[in-house]
Symmetry: D3
Subunit: 313 residues, 6 copies
């Protein structure tokens, strides 16, 4: 049966035409007959260095006009398999993190309740915390597959205040993450002290640092990731600064020595078959991306997330 | 009575959130209860120098997120007065001017038939020709108020082929324009020969050249424009290269020695009360607009067009 | 007597050399023998559309390397007249407006207590509120000369929350502003409703809208400003979006139809002789300023503020 | 014997000086004593997404000022071996694909007739079709070595209209390509359906997809390419979007997950000794290339093409 | 009689095609049958702040592709009246000012000897000195019409070393300038001390400062310029930083508070009929000009210089 | 014992705040209790193609705000181990290479005399010559580890004049380099003739060309470098054009086919334990680096240099 919602037909309407929705999908705000939804979360008050990820959803949508239905690497026609929509953006209160986080959790819950697989486009990484709250409310603690150059396990500053560097500390404290089946991949760059470099393992998650990932390669890393999370309900979070700044300059706290676009695709494709309940993709900042490559890569990563979901349908 | 369609409430949903429609209006493709529609016409195959105006509608929509409902200069609350929608973009065949022009005329006709005031966002200036065909089919020959640095009255090249330099030549030949009530404003820059500089008057339209406009000022020019077109059903076409490149660098054939953003606003506001049946705004090219000022000005000009329409409701 | 602090000698050390302080002044954090201080306030959590003014002080300092000591328009050698320093930036908690505002007030008070004339470089416009709190604590209610395209007198949203659109509402409510001697200049662009357009006069301040300012010209406006504030202890606040986006694209909520760099200089020079106790210059965002003209103009405006202060020494 | 035409001497005239011709070669429009010619083909009406490749030849020429005569990787002094010229650009009718294609074929034929090895700089990929027509008119069907992220074997749209996605479909249909000795390398990214992914092999060409190329590496791929085309008169076409967007952002339909500049050089150098009669290099768009890396890489690839030709002299 | 050299015919070869020469003129290095020559002088070692004007000639040539033959403001068909060529660039030794200056003088002399009117495109302003040496060798001391925001009459630094701030000091000392018929126009911005502001008048030239020029307007200033230089053999030098940074950001020492593109055109057109023997246009830096407006304005100013020359033929 | 000088505490003062010094270190111009100093050398008159490296120190300092104290790859807390300062920039005479070189040598000598390990930030590569003069005056001839795409061993032009292509020719001639323990790494791209490609080995240094480095990999190359220089007092010079333009576009003579950021880090980390007395990092040009990735990588490489020094303390 053909899925209810389909993207615009690029043979009739050229890809550069029309109001920009993700992959030219219909903008729909109801959840009936929906298998997968793209949702923008334009909140960036958690940023501690550069800011501007509130414009991430717009720029990723813009770049996604180039995406076509069939994914030859994963051999799946996404839109023939599942019904996909662009749900639009969640409302947020800019400048007020606790209030915005509460809004995000509340607005995300119906998506999980409706058994839709959501792909959230940030926004800064602080949004993973309210999203995990919503996800765990439905699914219980989730295995985390976390691609990033930072652990985002800091305790906070100025009396424990939350930022985009703290979401997973809070998530672990609140029991939202099944640490025994969780893994952080790609961490690198300078940190504040030696203890910072041990935070991942101290909370009980597995760690593949950036240098380790370079050393072992994507195939071996994929095996470790799969071994860690297989069988568990999983939440995938992808901070675009996992990628090297040459491939993704448009982000807030770039770290050199990272990974290529293709290596990123390989790792995501390696998640095939896992029980992934939700994805987020964060920290895209178009004003630092004059070549547009960051948004283009982000759009493609989201497209791979769609393919992973379609393969399980 | 409150108009049927309203923009998103920026007190609830911040202006940077959501799928980008013009001024945060609903994207609607039916015409019932609609007074005014924004329509993108992303066709740019007529460009003889730089190209890329196919991305003009997207970038103008993006910049229009900053627009608010009340226009203090014209003292009108646009969205309280008239029901406005973003109709999306017309489909076009890129690379094939005659075919695309036929599509545009056909798709534009229902808008005129429904008595909606359309504001078309180009696209290159060649699109004014198929739009005038649709407009004249409904309204008969139209008075033209044409802001531009070029007359676009060239005969064509290579055996009379159409480009963005020829639409008004064809429109005059086809009787779509009521030349006795038409006026071109702002022409300047080098031309091919002395005859080129006389084309406006030779077809019977009035001319205020760029240097004249600088000399007489906006108020006097407004009087001349009003005297020329008052009482006639009018089509307003605004080529963004009327504006000086400092204020609108993102265009295809920029001409120095032009006008400021404020002068542009003054002239448009000066059209208050005239019987304007259709507007177009063309030649915005975001890839030549790294500061975004061109799209921002274009969005504001379209907002003034909306206010002019609201004032007549 | 030669002032204690002097900028680097550009005949010995070229202007492009050295750690970037404002106008190549020494970076000093004590206030003895100091007449005037440049202070960065890199806080931008109040931004409701674009963000990034936290990088404003850095970019204005960078552009200020071009400034030389003598101001021929005001005929004063700034650094021969008064002892000037770059005080560095105030510490702030990004992402937490109330906390950061408290920090700013506390850190600014010693400057006022020491009778130093401070020039604050924002940051978003929300920082004017904590700065006015510090200023009024020392000087009592202050006459406000406010250049902007927005009144920033909004009441707040989501239950009255503060943003960069609310500082002067709060300042008036708290009695920090002597409204009878205050004036807002340059307001323009769309607003939410007709009431918004009346907020300035309803709180008791004088208003010269953007269109009025275009109509009357800088000289007449200067007379009105002087008549309004003469004799009162004055706080000057300059939002760079007063300037037209062609001259200052690098800002958060640009409004077309604004003023040139020279008109801005004229208005500031027109404040000569007034009893100005403090200046701020806000909303410069370098990531939206690829040509650098915004920061360059901001640096020059701050240089004019210095000259105004030097003339009173 | 010293070749007749030589580039400007960079020891006398610095490389940044002079009218920009390719590699500072003389601009010559006759073909006597010429072994190799660089020819711009500034036609981009075939573009279905971004456009602007008409400015590709200009920007590649500009970047080529950095090229020096000796190629250490291939150990050949290009300009000591063969007489090279910059032939300028072919005239085209922008906006009219069939007419422009006819012009291109007609203008290219004398080059092939004169036994000059041409290196054509596009323009969009549609220009390969008229160039193949000219080449095949002289040489008969040619083996094709095609580097690209797309097969460009689409059938056309809107009744089979040609675009930059169709040249090789037409070329195969017209018998211009010796499919049995042809190969496409680097294809990747989403396509419209599963059939699209099989087009290369269905027309009889060999295929190395992007993921395969990543997996087997450049050395093994080189062997496959050589085995396929060795002995046949060959046409090499290089779409710059073969390269990853991090290395070549300035193109019209970028696809992530591509190849580095060095990998591209390796593959081209691997063509050493083959019987190559013509080269083209297409889809460079400088307005999407703010860092200039795309044009620089394109200029270097053309320089490698020159070295391959010089080695066979 | 038709002039010998003519630009490419844009009806046959589109303006974006071909090797970039100024206004599509032939690149000719002989002077027979030549009335006017465009010559690049890509030397920028004299720059004391930003550098990069060595790429000015290239970018001005690129922008000049938009220029057409007929100038409607001055009512002259340039290329029907005089024979114009692009002479290419003068060779220089980058990094070595005295040597390069000697080269420039030597290479420029034949142009003056052949009675060609040269339009030199810098390069930094230091090149005016060797050009004046060549000009005065032929014509004797020349009246100077100097548009700039700086007097460039500084004595030098580090023991009198020359830079782009000193050419007219040297020229006056060497008797190359007829100071009694010379005038500097547009000076503004901060200077090192009060004496700096008096240098123009102290050497005997007339001065219209930037603020004066704003106050009196272009028409009155034109009268003063004409009165000063009329009857004298004249050299016109135009530093692009005369123009406001909003209209010409791409320069080395921009000064805010400047003039518009149109005001610049007015002043240049006001030179009609004067006995101008040579023009230079300096300090264009494309790497600081992402919108391209600086080079476009420079190309147009040079086009006006051509028209002034054509009118006297 | 805690080192005397420490960077600002990012838990109190956010990283985007404050006057930009390298890694937020104090700006100190005395050498007591100093182990390592960052020094800018903003001289770029030696550039033969693009210029502007005089702004390199500023942009590297700006990017360095992101650096944190602990280096997890080398497992060292830099600022706990050694006392580091930002010494500011050396004064130079722009436009006058011999004079500036003399200034640089003179100003650098006290740093070597005080046994401080200096990290010099260029500036163009010509500055390595005066720096080597100062270094060798203290330490005698130094082993050179030279990362670059060019040998910079050219003899000079126009009678042997120095440029950024000649420093190591002069250094070898003057006996500043211990060629038997020196090595050049990464050379690639076209050169003027076959002899150019042999210059490294002809002066007695070891060579790993770019293609060789790609072939053998970073680990094997590291062994060769270590074997070559181990035991000798060493000077490390890193031209950012060693890196591929995708990772470092902001440089003057970029060469495609280079190395990634991570490969660069690997090679630098491989120098662990060697007796390095001085580092320089040159040819960063921010005006060609719109994404900022070049300066960010440069800042990180300097941070690795600091870690190498800290490990030996």
């Amino acid at each position: 049966m053909t899925p209810k919602y389909q993207p615009a037909d690029s043979m009739k309407s050229p890809r550069f035409a029309g109001v920009r929705t993700f992959a030219r999908l219909p903008h729909v705000t109801t959840l009936e007959s929906v298998d997968l939804a793209i949702i923008g979360v334009p909140f960036d008050t958690g940023g501690t260095y550069r800011v501007g990820a509130r414009f991430g959803p717009e720029s990723i949508r813009s770049a996604s006009a180039l995406l076509r239905p069939y994914n030859p690497a994963l051999e799946v026609d996404v839109f023939d398999s599942i019904s996909c929509i662009d749900f639009g953006d969640l409302d947020v209160v800019p400048g007020y993190l606790p209030e915005a986080h509460a809004q995000i959790t509340e607005a995300a819950q119906p998506l999980f309740a409706a058994d839709v697989v959501p792909i959230f486009l940030g926004g800064d990484h602080s949004v993973s915390l309210p999203l995990l709250r919503a996800a765990a409310a439905q699914h219980g603690p989730l295995a985390l597959v976390h691609f990033d150059s930072h652990s985002d396990l800091w305790h906070g500053y100025y009396g424990g205040k939350d930022t985009h560097g703290t979401p997973f500390r809070r998530a672990v404290e609140e029991g939202l993450v099944d640490v025994d089946h969780s893994i952080q991949v790609g961490l690198r760059g300078s940190v504040y002290d030696a203890a910072d470099a041990r935070m991942t393992t101290e909370v009980g998650m597995e760690l593949i640092t950036g240098p380790e990932l370079h050393a072992v390669g994507m195939a071996a890393a994929t095996e470790r990731i799969r071994a860690r999370v297989e069988g568990a309900a999983t939440y995938v979070t992808f901070d675009i600064d996992f990628v090297d700044p040459a491939f993704a300059p448009g982000t807030g706290t770039p770290e050199v020595g990272g990974f290529t676009g293709y290596e990123s695709l390989q790792l995501v494709r390696g998640l095939r078959g896992l029980d992934i309940r939700s994805f987020d993709l964060v920290e895209v900042m178009p004003m630092y991306d004059p070549t547009g490559v960051t948004s283009l890569l982000a759009a493609n990563l989201a497209h791979e997330f769609m393919a992973l979901t379609a393969l399980r349908s």
